[in-house]
Amino acid sequence: MIAEIGHFSLILALAIALVQAVLPMAGAARGNAAWMATAAPAALMQLACIATAFGCLMYSFVISDFTVANVVQNSNSLQPMIYKVSATWGNHEGSMVLWVLILAVFGAMVAAFGRNLPPSLKARVLSVQSMVGVGFLLFILLTSNPFERVFPAPLDGRDLNPLLQDPGLAFHPPMLYIGYVGFSMAFSFAIAALIEGKVDAAWARWVRPWTLVAWSFLTAGIGLGAWWAYYELGWGGWWYWDPVENASFMPWLVGTALLHSSIIVEKRDALKTWTVLLAILTFSLSLIGTFLVRSGVLTSVHAFATDPERGVFILLLLVIAIGGSLALYAWRAPRLKGGGLFAPISREGALVLNNLLLTTAAATVFIGTLYPLFLEAIGGGKVSVGPPFFNATFVPLMIPLILALGVGPMLGWKRGDLIGAVARLKFAFAFTLSVAVVAAYISWGRSIFGVLGLTLAGWLAGCVLVEFGARIGLTRVGGGDVLRRMAGLPRAAMGMTIAHLGFAITVAGASGASLWQDEVIQFLRPGETLSIVEYDFTLRSVDTVQGPNYTAQRGIFTVRHDGAVVTTLAPERRRYVVTGTETTEAALYTQWYADLYAVIGKGDDKGAWTVHLFFKPLVPWIWGGTLLMVFGGFVSLSDRRLRIGAPTARRTAAHADPAAQPAE
């Protein structure tokens, strides 16, 4: 019964979405206010229906209703409750429902809080948003019904993929989807603007907060995914250039470009057609990401069960959505009037360079991901890509990006003074030099790239600090004034500083992690000791442990440094009962500058166990830097100027700083 309610709600949502897609758009074209006014209530009703459907699906998982095929395939009665819940979106069908749910939430937010939007723009935005919804609801209902029943019902389910039974991965998809789908807002605004024929500073002020929300969540989602890969897959890597990872990384790169170019539209009224194009491209890449994962076009371990029929449907959706919007762009964009002019050396110029490098980087990842496919299509098939390709193409693009990122914020709008800016960066140069010397000393003869990476990170961090120092008048005014200036700094500027600093820290972490790690691997008997970088790991015992739906071999290590006990680590090797799959649960000990990482492998039947130990320098910085980037995004979001059209931010800002705005 519950499943049927869910199914019915989805059908109802489709009907509402159809109305919402057509009526407001027609109303905006004819100037019919009543038709336009249907958009907001329709968006709210659509959300109610989809939320009901999602709730029904989750309920089926929670009570382990094995008459529902989807529950049978992805859950098991022994599974802990948190994974019963997360199994709702840990499969193709359920994740699509989550996808449209988030789409509807964004639509409803515009409907409920976008009171200050011009009515025709609001109607068109909601209509475009709903068109996307129609496509995906049709896709779910026609090819991927999550509420299908099985008869006769089996006694128990087949268990969620054990790799997904992990707290990190339980929350990875929702974050990622808020990011992906959040870019639909920028997309809808871009399409609406193309139809209206008007892009101005006010438009950019509405688009920016939505892009910031999406960007922040996508950053968090990607970071969470990398973190999960790091500790769950058990061999210490954190980024593999896997097609599915790339699928989330491409919208991030182009979305980052969009974030920056919309600043130019807002402040300088320039670069409009480019920004609209970026908005379309960002969401298009989110859609293509969805396609890659689900269509069976590319092979990947992450891939959901694939089905050619679904692939054809998604491809059709892509052609209509992306092809349609790009055709609209080709037709309407030339009519958008350009605005302010600027010299190549200027803040705008630096942001354009940022955009070019980021989009080129995204294009590189795109080619690397789809290359095997392209060559096969023309009958070649003799090509290979992998991390070697991306290291050779993507990494070099990051070098000028980081160099320019340091100087860019120091340049003035319209016409900048490069020599003056560089002169003001004396401290940054000194800082960079000292980082380079230290890095070279540590890794002499080991890795020139590690030195380069750390030096670049040092440069960026130095520049960010100099710029921040200049803004708060560190060298010019007294201590009290500095604090007052810091408090009075626009939140957007504060967010920029935090996010850029976070990026520098992530770059440092990535350089250290990929270049200076140490590892040992050896058979070890209980009582024996293995050493890595001044740490001694003694294997005390290996015990068999019974989990709720798995059995595990758990090794207990005592870790000593100079004879003093540092910590105890307990890595596991789990075998899940239902599927027979084995997973490794690495054990980590994190210090501010490095991780100790232990994995226990197979036994040799004679009482010895394979033990794999890593010393991972700077890896914690990757996560710390990512968190800072996300935090910077939210700080920027709380900026007063952006709160127009971004009601969620208004509330968080009001909570954080109620005294600052007594009039509201």
Partner: protein
């Protein structure tokens, strides 16, 4: 700005969409016809480990074998590895390793940790032999008959279903 710049994104997308459409109609897991039933390409690779021989064209004659292309940096290789270990343990079929675009130390550590299912392993750090084989990603698995011909190719991690439904019956038939 010239009008063509505004139309270019649409044209580029049309090309991408065409490729995706072709990609959909082809099953990516099936061997490009060019190599099917052909003798294995000629190549000669040094050994990966000191106690195990390397791999050359002449080694792939005389028995039905699997050639598995793997790398330590490859995620799906980890996923299929237990299955290969089990096949070697059950003495199902000799499995030959082609270690592709990998560092020697990394690959050895990888095998030491997960177990080594291979009877011999060729080390191909540059990916040169991989090009001869038409490898376009790891893992890939080839079925070689007694005459040293490629009879089947599976792209991506080996799944139990593929193994029992396609690969094992094929091996049985080739052994007759």
């Amino acid at each position: 700005m010239p009008r063509i710049l505004f139309i270019a994104p649409l044209l580029l997308f049309a090309i991408v969409a065409a490729y995706l459409a072709i990609g959909l109609t082809k099953n990516a897991r099936i061997l490009p016809s060019a190599l099917l039933d052909q003798p294995v390409p000629s190549f000669d690779l040094p050994p990966l480990k000191n106690d195990k021989p390397g791999l050359a064209t002449a080694d792939l004659q005389g028995d039905v074998m699997l050639v598995n292309v793997f790398a330590s940096w490859c995620v799906p290789c980890r996923a299929e590895h237990p299955l290969l270990m089990q096949m070697t343990h059950d003495k199902t079929v000799p499995i030959i390793g082609l270690n592709w675009k990998d560092k020697k130390a990394d690959a050895r550590a990888w095998l030491a940790e997960l177990g080594d299912p291979y009877t011999r392993i060729g080390h191909d750090p540059s990916g040169r032999a991989g090009i001869e084989w038409g490898v376009y990603g790891v893992p890939e698995t080839y079925v070689i008959d007694r005459g040293g011909r490629i009879r089947y190719k599976h792209v991506g991690p080996m799944f139990r279903e593929v193994l029992t439904e396609t690969v094992l019956p094929l091996i049985k038939e080739l052994r007759k």
